[in-house]
Structures are given as structure tokens and as C-alpha cells.
């Protein structure tokens, strides 16, 4: 069993305090915001996707715990330069692997929030509203509200 302290390893805290691309993306073409009802974490993602379907820029903003905000920073860094299709193939397990420290099921929800929002953002062009084929169920643990 991993020690819980390890969740807050240096690499994670570094991303939390010094995030990659936190803020607004001036030339965003796609945008989505999501929250985690369990803890109230909010993450918004702005993407600039070029005509070839590659992510030119990925930015996020939001409020929440170390896990959700650090994982957003890591994910923005990861997906810049990737193609839309590659990101669609980027699974929840890969996201957890990118984050690093092993997380309990509840904290996995925090970690996967930015990943969920990115997946939705791919289907959310800023001008045309949300694609009707946007899929809301990406697998992974459910985000059921606490009782």
C-alpha cells in the first residue's frame, strides 16, 4: 500500500504552484468547463485546434484541490502538439499514469476531471455550440454526489 503522503510528491506540488498554461487562451477555438460535485472542483479548458486537427495551444483555469489542478497542468503540457484523434485515444488509465502517484478511487475523480473536460472540449467549438454527438460518458469512476 502506498503511503498517502506520496500523493503530494514534489512533482505534483510543483505543478500545483507553478502550473503550465493557467489562464485564458487568446485564440481558443474550443472550450469546455466541468466540475466535480464531490468536492466542488472546477476546471475550464481552452483549446486552439488548427485546421489539421492538431492542438496548437491548451490552457486551463479553475479552482480546486492539488490533485485536480496539478493534473490539469500536466495534461495541458501533454496534449499540446497532439492530434485530436490521439487525445481521444488517451485513456483514463493513461491520465492516471501521467499524474504519477497512486490515488484512491475518490481522488481519481479529482485527477480525471481535467481529462474529462478536455475530452468534452474537443467536441465544443466556441462558435457552433456543443456538438450533438459529444459523448458524456467516458468511463472511469462515476462522479456521483456525496450523500
Amino acid at each position: 500500500m502506498p503511503r498517502e503522503e506520496d500523493i503530494y510528491e514534489e512533482h505534483v506540488l510543483d505543478h500545483y504552484e507553478d502550473p503550465y498554461h493557467r489562464g485564458d487562451c487568446e485564440h481558443a477555438t474550443h472550450e469546455h468547463e466541468g466540475n466535480n460535485p464531490l468536492c466542488g472542483d472546477v476546471v475550464r479548458v481552452d483549446l486552439q485546434i488548427d485546421s489539421g486537427g492538431d492542438i496548437r495551444q491548451a490552457w486551463f483555469d479553475g479552482e480546486g484541490c492539488v490533485i485536480s489542478q496539478a493534473s490539469a497542468s500536466m495534461l495541458m503540457e501533454k496534449i499540446e502538439g497532439m492530434s485530436r484523434d490521439k487525445i481521444k485515444q488517451f485513456t483514463a488509465d493513461q491520465m492516471l499514469e501521467l499524474f504519477g502517484p497512486k490515488l484512491t478511487p475518490n481522488r481519481q475523480k479529482c485527477c480525471l476531471l481535467p481529462w474529462r473536460v478536455v475530452q468534452s472540449a474537443l467536441h465544443s467549438p466556441i462558435d457552433d455550440g456543443v456538438d450533438t454527438d459529444a459523448v458524456q460518458n467516458f468511463g472511469g469512476p462515476s462522479l456521483r454526489e456525496e450523500s
Partner: protein
Amino acid sequence: MSEKKNTPLDVESIRGDFPILKTLSASGAPLIYLDNAASTQHPNVVIESISDCYRNYYANVHRGIHTLSEAATSAYEQSRHAVAAFLNAAADREIVFTAGTTAAINTVARSWGEANIKSGDTILLTIAEHHANIVPWQQLATRTGCRIEFLPVADDGTIADEVVLDALAKHRPKLFTFVAISNMLGTEFPVARWVRMAHDAESLVLVDAAQAVPHQPIDVRQWDADFVVFSGHKICGPSGIGVLYGRESLLEAMPPFLGGGGMIQRVTVSGFEPAGLPEKFEAGTPPITEAIGLAAAIRYVESIGLECIRAHEQELVGRAYDGLAAIDGVRIFGPLPKDRAGILSFVIDGVHAHDVSQWLDTRGIAVRAGHHCTMPLHKRFGVAATSRASFYLYNTVSEVDAFVAAIAETKAKFSSTGRRRTRQPIKPL
């Protein structure tokens, strides 16, 4: 020990009654359980009462003629009597076993609500209600077109009597439903006084006593409330059982909510005739061992003494309050300790409640993090989530001190220190 000097409770002896308190937390540290407002732990007498029923006299109740069924029925009804006596209800018939506080409130909303509430009527709530005492009324509003009004809380987590009086006069509610002790703020609202004010305004009253019944002596006749609800699992009893106390004349006039076996006098192909109280509201096989466990829990806390439990929690919450208030950057919600029960919600500037809870867990300390099912109340105070420590009879002064020290440590752990992320090489596009 110094603890014994300050409190009439023999906490060390009480702790010996709770096997789970001897376990170690995941981190290897001794467990410090401060999540009692969410659910409490169970003493041996409760665990054994349930085990004893399953081992020796379990059967369905109110159905069989055989010996086991008679024994189980008798124990189940004795449990009802224990609850009635505990609350000082006028009769056992006024005690309905439900699945919990939530189910009890839903029963009133569905049964009394649909029979008595129509479009244009008002239900008065406080903004401090648990979702369990908001959503059933919102559902009722959807069905009937009634209105819901919320009393605001002041910055210190209290609600002045004038605010209540004004709202009663202005809205003329059919029902005023409020929490006796806020599960987030810890505020103790003046139940008996507000019930009088509501009755003067010809409103019925439902009291959500989930956080009150386990922690102080309750007398429903002294409160004079029309409905009082609470849960078994917050008073050292099992989950899956709760209590709806209702004034007999009201319960008598209410239609049954859940239909099924056990709640009928007679069924024909053309209809049914409901049973009398309290079976009318207990369709299906009830929570049998849960009721027996609840009665054991009630006997247990009564043997310790509710006044003593309350005094002990007052000491703990006062000490925790002073300790947290002395830490720079910690914001406490709710009133001063003199007006609060053993519940303490707080935020640490710049640190999310989940990180607080996770870090405390590494020290063996269990606290709640989130909105505690009070999202409107959290919105009122401008926060999405808080951390909450809540105390019970088995908590000690040294646990409070360990908690306060861990909060100071958490603050330091997550403070900004000028960290820099490792820069990735620029990726060519």
C-alpha cells in the same frame, strides 16, 4: 489523567467499548475519528445486540405465529418503545421506523405534503438545511406548485428570532421545517422557541434532529414539534434505520406513503384498507435488527448520560475552536463555542478541503471534506467546500490537540514556497 478532571465522562473506559478505536489508520497512526457528524462508531453492546438477534431469535416481524417470529416481533416493538421513551413521546404509535432521516422527511413530504399542500402554499426552510430537508420540498413544489422560502443565516451562523417572526408573518407557511443543529455550522437553533412562534402563526413544524438527538437530551413534548426526525447511525446505532416522530393526530390523518405488505388491514382486488399506526407507514419487511441495534445504542448513550456527553463535546469543541482560531489563515464557520454543538467547519486559506482531509488522513485523523450536503449554505458563505471536525463521547482532549497540531502542519505543507515546475523542451508544431 487531566481529561477526567475536566469532564464527568470516563473517556478511557468509553473508548474501551468501541473496538474500532483500537484499529490503526491506513497510515499506521492510531485512529483519531472526528467524522461523527457524518456517522458514529459502534460500541460492543450494539454490535452484540445485532449479532445476538441473528444468532438466536431472528425472523420476520408481525407475520409468523412461530416462536422466532414472536421473539423478533417482541424485540422490534420493545425497540419502538425504547425510542418513544427516549424522546418522551406520548405513545409508541407516534414512532415510525424509517430507513433514516432522509426517508422520514420524504415520508412527511409525500404523505402529509401531498394531502395538505396546494399551489400557492408556502414551506419555510432555513438556508442551513441539509439537502435531505431541501430536495423533498423542492420535489413537492414541482408536484403541487407550492413555494419554498429560505430563512437567511447571519455571518456568525445564527438566525435571529425577528428574522423567523418576520418570515412567518410574511409568508404564512403551512410548514416550517428546520435543522435543530446545523451539520456544517454547528449552530444550535432554539427549537422550542421557534416551534412556539410557528404555532402562533398557525404553521406546523418539522425538526431535523439528526445532529441533536445523539448529543443532548431531547423531549419532543417540551419542544412541542409536530414532526421530529433522526437517524440511527449518528447515535452509535446501525445505518438503514431512522425515526419519524409525529404527533398522533397528524399521523392518524395522513395517508400511507409506501404501499405494500405490513401496512394494510385488508386487501381485495378492488382496493385496500390501511393498517393503523405506526404500521401504516412501515410497508414491507422493516429494518428489524437495525431497530434492535438502535435500541441498544439508545440504552448505551443513556447509560453514559446525554447531559454528560453534551458537556464533554462542549469542552472538546471549545478547545478545538481556540486552537484553530490561533492559526493564521484558518477561517472557522459558525458561532462561538457557547452557541455551537460539537461540530467545527473551517477552511485553510489557499488549501482545498480535500487536500486538508487527505493530509490529516496521513496522520490518522478522519475529518469530512466537501459541502456536507449543504450546498446552498456553502454558497451563502462563498466557499465550495470546507473541512469539518465533529466530536462525540469517545473523543479525547489529546485527540483535539493532535488535530490542531495537524492543521498547523497542513497549513505549512501546502503554503506557497516558490516552487518551479520542471520545464519541458518546447515541442515543435
